[in-house]
């Protein structure tokens, strides 16, 4: 009985907190949400609306009346029915299948090397690996283009056809890999640095070698960061555009629809069909979201299992 009066005044406090509570988070989150809605969701919705329209020309030889009419799912149907769309997805996946594992493996390797006890010149090496990330993708692609072409190649372009039907995938992936490697390496290196040093000391006292420490302790502990790197790389691969677009004028091996985003660009800005481009873009958006969720779920499962 005596506890009742004591408990009673306590009650309004959480109520008051609850009343005041919702306002502050909302205020704090509002700018981010507003920007997200304005610059991500609104354009996506607009693209979706555009994707349902098409141009209809009538009246005379050169179409004296041009109107925009509702097309239903016709644009989607023609995107999905176009074998070239699937071929472009296939090419993108091929580049990704070269690029994503390479980035993951090389970034992890470089991060572990830099983190090793015996590593010297770490500051310089870190910068050297990170530097290509600071070179704009277009410039990097042009530079690699010069390196690949027989007329200007210092790396054997006279003997190896870097723009052959198979080599082209490696050539494009190579440009992309060096563009993102440095950033991902830093992500992993930061994760390694945040592991308590006592763990390594303990392992060393127990007689573990550097290699054993790296494989048995460091790798499992940075697994979540590696998932993140994989996610970045997959999303990066889905957005492949700069590298092949810049290399295109140098070779017949890259068409205007070589990867899906190039197709969107060429539909909208070369063929002047914004509506078809919007449908391709929206299809790709859905695929990107699905792929992102998948990688996230699978990655989380894997890192949880290895943590156990």
């Amino acid at each position: 009985m005596a506890t009742v009066p004591a408990a009673a005044p306590a009650r309004p406090a959480p109520a008051r907190r609850r009343r005041r509570g919702p306002i502050l988070p909302v205020v704090l989150v509002a700018p981010a949400v507003a920007l997200l809605l304005l610059f991500t969701f609104a354009p996506a919705v607009y693209a979706f609306v555009l994707s349902l329209l098409r141009v209809h020309v009538s009246g005379g030889l050169l179409g004296t009346s041009t109107e925009t009419v509702f097309a239903g799912v016709a644009n989607y149907a023609s995107t999905l029915a176009d074998p070239e769309f699937w071929a472009s997805l296939g090419r993108m996946l091929l580049v990704a299948s070269v690029g994503v594992p390479s980035v993951l493996i090389l970034a992890t390797l470089f991060a572990l090397c830099l983190d090793a006890n015996r590593a010297r010149l770490t500051g310089f090496s870190r910068l050297a690996i990170f530097l290509p990330y600071a070179v704009p993708g277009v410039i990097a692609s042009l530079l690699w283009g010069f390196l690949y072409l027989p007329a200007t190649s210092p790396i054997g372009g006279q003997f190896i056809d870097y723009f052959g039907n198979t080599t082209i995938f490696f050539a494009v992936a190579n440009v992309a890999i060096w563009g993102v490697l440095g950033f991902n390496m830093v992500v992993l290196y930061t994760a390694l640095q945040s592991i308590p040093r006592e763990l390594f000391d303990a392992a060393q006292i127990d007689g573990a070698s550097e290699l054993q420490i790296a494989v048995r302790i460091k790798l499992p502990m940075i697994a979540p960061a590696m998932t993140l790197v994989a996610l970045f790389s997959v999303i990066g691969a889905l957005q492949l555009f700069n590298e092949p677009t810049t290399l295109k004028p140098l070779t017949n091996a890259i068409s205007s629809t070589w990867v899906p985003l190039m197709r969107v660009y060429s539909d909208a800005f070369v063929n002047n069909d914004i509506y078809g481009g919007a449908a391709s873009a929206f299809t790709l958006l859905v695929m990107t979201v699905v792929a992102t969720v998948l990688v996230n779920v699978v990655g989380n499962r894997l890192s949880r299992r290895s943590a156990r």
């Binding site: 098409r54 141009v55 209809h56 020309v57 009538s58 005379g60 030889l61 050169l62 179409g63 041009t66 277009v138 692609s141 042009l142 283009g145 010069f146 072409l149 027989p150 007329a151 200007t152 039907n165 700069n242 677009t245 810049t246 295109k248 004028p249 140098l250 070779t251 017949n252 091996a253 890259i254 068409s255 205007s256 629809t257 660009y265 060429s266 800005f269 070369v270 063929n271 002047n272």
Partner: protein
């Protein structure tokens, strides 16, 4: 005229186009302030055009023209004009190449100028056909750019060839001689990245990609004449007698400059570009007519050539037309175009102006360069009409022929692909296609 100049850069810079579009939104149509001066805006990418505009502005204080350099050339610009047209922000006057005029008309970007211009009698029917549709004239033609064969005279002579090939058979024979003497050398390249290079060759061969009757279109891109051209080049490629790479690539520029590629089938405007492509070879090039299919046949196609059109957004179409007429259809204007922008005029009356006695600087060893142009221009032949979606055709050509060269597959199939893509797009848009 220098349409290809920025091409190599155009694609890498594509991302900037969007930004350029935003910036250009502020340049709305002509404004007239209280003083009675009409201010016009004029979008054009040709080098030297600023001097022509300056001369007009000095002579016409009441109509002042402001020149705008577009962020992208060719279809990058045309697509922007189509988009901006809906927003009403287009400049008053725009440079448009012949193949894009039907596209510009069907999107209502440009308007007829008949009521503002007194006479176009200085032009031949052949040229007027390129701008006159259903009885209305859209813009005033500026230049005509016949295909021309440019070749390294010194290297041809070194290979024992004393005169340029007169027929395509001779061209193939010369190609074999040149490549036989030095396996690194090629007489030219097959340019899968330049649709208008190929359409120019098809025009010469007698192809008629588009024709119209009433409001019904006929599309015949894989006709017999075009197939002949395609087969001819595929044969040369299969025998490794021409280089497979696209023009304006780093590889091609280097090969042109080092003498590994010793010829270029190009347009009248090439001497404007050669100094940047092959800076080390000035004075070693000569221009000759493109080989013909039968000896003595002088028919030739074109590559490039432009019209100055008045836009639907212009609030002062009469003044805009007056400027355009002065620039392209008066002795004073054309004289400036020739001397400042190395233009070869479309207007037949002015194709022998004194200014044309001087060849472009790069062709200084060939004083009769412009006489040759005049001769070629009189034998120019085009398709009946350019399709309203030539951009689709051009893009399909680059993709299909690029792929065929890369994979060594049939050019016939590539032509079929281009034909089908062009027809499908026209039907989808609502045009009547036979």
């Amino acid at each position: 005229m220098n349409k290809k100049l920025l091409r190599g850069l155009a694609i890498p810079l594509a991302g900037l186009v969007a930004l350029g579009g935003l910036a250009a939104c502020s340049t709305s149509g002509g404004q007239s302030d209280g003083s009675g001066v009409v201010n016009l805006t004029f979008v054009n990418w040709d080098n030297g055009m600023d001097k022509v505009v300056d001369a007009w502005n000095t002579a016409n204080p009441k109509i002042q023209v402001k020149l705008i350099k577009p962020s992208g050339t060719g279809y990058t610009l045309y697509n922007k004009l189509i988009t901006d047209n809906k927003a009403g922000t287009n400049p008053d006057i725009a440079e448009i190449e012949y193949p894009a005029i039907p596209l510009m008309i069907s999107n209502k970007v440009i308007v007829p100028v008949d009521k503002y211009i007194s006479s176009l009698d200085n032009y031949s029917q052949n040229v007027l056909d390129r701008v006159r549709f259903e009885g209305k004239t859209y813009g005033v033609p500026q230049n005509i750019c016949p295909l021309v064969f440019f070749y390294r005279k010194d290297l041809f002579e070194a290979a024992g060839i004393t005169k340029p090939p007169a027929t395509w058979d001779e061209f193939a024979a010369d190609a074999a001689i040149i490549h036989g003497k030095n396996p690194k050398q090629y007489i030219s390249n097959f340019d899968a990245a330049s649709p208008e290079w190929f359409s120019g060759l098809a025009e010469q061969a007698g192809a008629n990609w588009w024709s119209a009757k009433g409001s019904t279109w006929t599309v015949d891109i894989d006709d017999a004449a075009t197939q002949k051209v395609a087969n001819y080049w595929q044969d040369l490629l299969t025998k490794d007698l021409v280089a497979p790479g696209p023009s304006w690539s780093t590889q091609w520029n280097t090969d042109m400059n080092t003498g590994n590629i010793v010829g270029w089938i190009s347009g009248q405007w090439a001497p404007n570009q050669l100094p940047s492509i092959t800076p080390d070879t000035a004075g070693k090039w000569a221009a000759a007519p493109v080989p013909s299919w039968t000896a003595g046949d002088q028919q030739i196609g074109t590559w490039g050539g432009e019209v100055e059109g008045v836009t639907a957004n212009s609030k002062h179409p009469a003044e805009a037309a007056k400027f355009v007429d002065w620039m392209n259809n008066s002795e004073k204007g054309i004289d400036l175009l020739i001397t400042k922008a190395q233009v070869f005029p479309a207007s037949a009356k002015y194709q022998s102006l004194p200014a044309l006695k001087t060849p472009p600087p790069f062709m200084s060893t060939q004083p009769d360069y412009n006489a040759l142009m005049a001769q070629l221009a009189s034998h120019v032949r085009g398709f009946d009409i350019w399709g309203p979606n030539a951009n689709i055709t051009f893009n399909a050509y680059s993709d299909a022929f690029g792929k065929a060269v890369q994979n060594k597959t049939s050019f016939q199939d590539a032509l079929k692909t281009v034909q089908e893509a062009s027809v499908a797009d026209m039907k989808k848009a609502g045009y009547t296609v036979k």
